[in-house]
């Protein structure tokens, strides 16, 4: 099936040789055998990748250089018909379609009942989807802390005010409800005078310690970065910034709502407990969150 070289090719450089594809295929064979050896010896990711690269690349370069050297280069031409059908063909199709439609149409009531049956079946078929999950409940707005819940560290130890130094912060969760995705809460020791409580929250701090939900009100990331001198909390995901001294009001970035605050108080043994529930629902917003 070899085609005669065109005159332009004959005048060109000397006839191509098989050197490049030969070397490429040999490299591929050696690399593939090397790969089996590496695997047999226990495997090593870098060697596996490099040898696989050579084994595959050898075939690729071999075949393509073969095509460039020895396979017919064309150009070949293929005719192209218009995609759309001729008017006669369309007219014939129309006629058949309409004839069939008329046959169906003769039984109007049956057509309507069939449509009704298909619709009802489609509706019924949607119901198994309902098994995928429960009705979205009050859980979305529920406070992970209830009044009197002890604040514990992620390791489960109860916390006293003196456990957090000024400018320091730790992550706490409610005792007995540690796995709630909304549970992580920041316990921050603000500088004296830094915390300016909102009205109605004057007694929510204990010794300049304040607690705010760690779950960003924007998209639910943990707000994990605290700049003590400015009293700003920064969310590492979308850079929403909250002013801890001002009720964790959002001051920059996409967040629109303050971080929910947890009222704090002490139990008889001096451990920190929740003085009530969070001031608002935890985490990202949804349609009826504020109702």
């Amino acid at each position: 099936m070899t085609e005669p070289a065109s005159s332009a090719e004959r005048k060109g450089p000397p006839a191509p040789t098989t050197h490049v594809p030969m070397v490429a295929f040999i490299v591929s064979i050696v690399a593939a055998l090397g790969l089996t050896f590496v695997y047999w010896r226990g495997g090593q990711p870098q060697w596996e990748g490099a040898l696989l690269c050579l084994a595959l690349g050898g075939i690729g370069i071999g075949v393509i250089s073969w095509a460039h050297r020895f396979l017919p280069a064309g150009p070949d031409e293929e005719p192209r018909e218009q995609v759309a059908s001729s008017d006669e063909a369309l007219a014939a199709l129309d006629a058949d379609l309409i004839a069939g439609e008329e046959e169906f149409g003769r039984r109007r009531l049956l057509v309507r009942l069939l449509a009704g049956a298909a619709g009802a079946l489609g509706l019924a078929a949607l119901f198994p989807l309902r098994s995928l999950g429960p009705r979205p409940g009050a859980g979305l707005k529920a406070s992970p802390f209830s009044t009197g819940d002890h604040l514990v560290t992620e390791q489960g130890t109860r916390v006293r005010p003196e456990d957090v130094a000024v400018d320091g912060f730790i992550t706490v969760v409610p005792e007995g409800n540690t796995d709630d995705a909304n549970a992580p809460t920041l316990l921050i020791h603000t500088r004296p005078g830094q915390n300016v409580p909102r009205s109605g929250r004057e007694d929510w701090a204990v010794d300049d310690l304040v607690a705010y939900s760690k779950i960003c009100t924007h998209a639910g990331c943990p707000v994990g970065l605290y700049q003590a001198e400015s009293g700003l909390l920064l969310c590492p995901c979308h850079q929403s910034t909250f002013d801890v001294g001002d009720g964790s009001r959002p001051v920059f970035g996409p967040a629109t709502r303050s971080l929910p605050q947890l009222p704090l108080t002490l139990d008889d043994d001096g451990y920190l407990v929740a003085g009530g529930e969070f001031s608002s629902p935890i985490g990202p917003g949804f349609w009826n969150q504020l109702r």
Binding site: G43, P45, Q46, W47, E48, G49, L52, C53, L56, G57, I59, G60, I61, V63, I64, W66, A67, L71, P72, G74, P75, D76, E77, E78, P79, R80, Q82, V83, R130, L132, P134, R135, P136, L140, E154, T171, A181, H218, A219, G220, C221, P222, G224, P236, C237, H238, Q239, F252, G253, P254, A255, T256, P284, G285, F286, W287, N288, Q289, L290, R291
Partner: protein, 486 residues
């Protein structure tokens, strides 16, 4: 009937043909002509990435456990020994360190996903800027856009499966975006996660979506995409001998079989090198997912970066009325992507209305010959690119030692100003290039040369009609070695 001494190929063909028929169709397929231009290979690269994703994915699925049950790690990676983690994360670590060839397969899989989406977008850009989406190819354009959406979704589902710190954070953000949808958001979230985030079912569900549901749809759509390419035949760039009623190039058998097959091995080879030598998604560094933690500089895979950037650039606005609200993430997370993909789906129809023509087009246009179209495309790509850059705003701030606020404000401004500027510059460049093509005025007045020096020398203004006339009138056809077609 072939004698027993006939070549094996002929005997196999006859055996099959007596049961299936279709010799004529098979021959026509072998004779299919592929235009020989590098930009036609971008879609092939995407296809080959998909093949490699399926092959490596099958291997990985044999070892991966999509379960949130908590286990204590006891494998060969020292720093994690004794750490509590989900079975999903544990099995991903086991694949990386204790399954032979597991690491290289996992990393090839991840790299192939990154290149898959990149190749689709490059392919899409080629189709867009050369007008290959025009009639009769509007449906295939829409299938292609759907494939892009599915590729991005499946990539996200894939890296969310591993339950490392990064993937858990990504899922939580995805849940926030779902929750932000008006009226039905909480319902969808509850159905997806089987209750409140994170629940215990999400990994199993993502797994089914990632390895069965979405790949099956992608596979079917690729088959339809290719069937339509065969039905329409390839487009081609304008040039000597190229007309609306032909395709000029090289036949599938044998030349393009070798070239396309070779390209598959080259793509696989590059991915193997990346998978073996370039570390990707080092889940053993980020650690297992803990709801209370997040690493700074959290970055999604590159193709999700533009949505992440949109979330970051969005000003703190939301809609509240009658006690209901449309939360902030809805606008950059749901509305904007819907608009972007909506315009993409509609573009062939917008363009044909703008061009006031609904003809069949098989000769491509060169971007410079349609300055407004090219300008709009460049503006759109600039818009999405600025969003993608914004997805790394914190990394930029740390790298260049500037405040995050300054970076965000700069990028917010750039998002509004850069696209129109880039579009205008591109359109202006197109006009200048057209002028240069036309040459000095005195030369432009002369008729174009009868026999262009090479097939790459395009006529000055290759509107289809002109190119048609030129090629018909020139000796180009006789210079082209044509093959007889039955």
């Amino acid at each position: 009937m072939a004698s027993p001494k006939a070549p094996v190929t002929a005997r196999v063909v006859r055996w099959l043909d007596r049961r299936v028929g279709g010799a004529r169709m098979a021959r026509k397929t072998l004779d299919k002509v592929f235009p020989d231009h590098w930009s036609f290979l971008l879609g092939e690269v995407a296809l080959y990435c998909f093949v490699i994703l399926v092959l490596t994915g099958i291997y990985l699925s044999l070892f991966f456990t999509p379960s949130t049950s908590v286990v204590t790690y006891d494998g060969s990676y020292g720093p994690l020994r004794g750490v509590e983690m989900s079975e999903a994360y544990e099995s991903a670590i086991r694949i990386s360190f204790d399954v032979r060839a597991g690491m290289v397969m996992r990393q090839i899989h991840h790299w192939a996903a990154l290149v898959f989406v990149a190749a689709i977008i490059a392919h899409l850009a080629r189709i867009f800027f050369t007008g290959a989406f025009r009639r009769p190819r509007e449906l295939n354009w829409m299938i292609g856009v759907t494939l892009l959406v599915l590729a991005m979704l499946n990539g996200f589902a894939g890296y969310s499966l591993l339950d490392d710190q990064l993937s858990g954070t990504g899922l939580r953000i995805a849940n926030a975006i779902i929750l932000s949808i008006p009226i039905v958001g909480t319902w969808i979230s509850s159905l997806v996660f089987d209750g409140p985030y994170p629940g215990t079912e999400i990994l199993q569900r993502l797994f089914v979506a990632h390895i069965l549901l979405i790949p099956a749809v992608i596979g079917v759509l690729i088959a339809v995409h290719l069937a339509l390419v065969i039905r329409h035949k390839h487009t081609q760039y304008p040039g000597p001998g190229k007309r609306e009623d032909n395709v000029v190039g090289q036949r599938l058998w044998p030349t393009y079989t070798a070239k396309a097959g070779g390209l598959f091995f080259l793509v696989a080879s590059v991915l193997a090198a990346l998978g073996g030598l370039a570390q990707i998604n080092a889940i053993w560094v980020t650690g297992p997912y803990r709801g209370a933690d997040v690493s700074s500089a959290s970055q999604p895979d590159w193709y999700m970066g533009w949505t992440e950037g949109g979330l970051r650039l969005m000003p703190p606005w939301e809609v509240r009325a009658f006690g209901y609200q449309i939360p902030n993430p809805f606008f950059p997370g749901v509305l904007l992507p819907s608009i972007v993909f909506g315009i993409m789906y509609a573009w062939p129809f917008i363009q044909s209305r703008r061009a006031k023509t609904d003809q069949e087009h098989h000769i491509l246009f060169r971007p410079r010959d349609h300055p407004v179209h090219t300008g709009i495309g460049v503006a759109a790509f600039t818009f999405v690119t600025v969003m993608m850059v914004a997805g790394s705003s914190d990394v930029i701030a740390v790298t260049f030692g500037v405040s995050v606020n300054a970076v965000i404000w700069t990028l917010r401004t750039a998002l509004l100003i850069l696209p129109p500027i880039a579009g205008l510059v591109a359109a202006r460049l197109c006009v200048e290039l057209q002028r240069r093509d036309a040459g000095p005025p005195s030369v432009a007045a002369e008729p174009p040369p009868a026999n262009p020096p090479s097939s790459r020398a395009y006529p000055a203004a290759p509107e289809p009609e002109l190119a048609d006339q030129l090629s018909r009138s020139s000796a180009a056809e006789s210079a082209t070695r044509l093959r007889e077609t039955p």
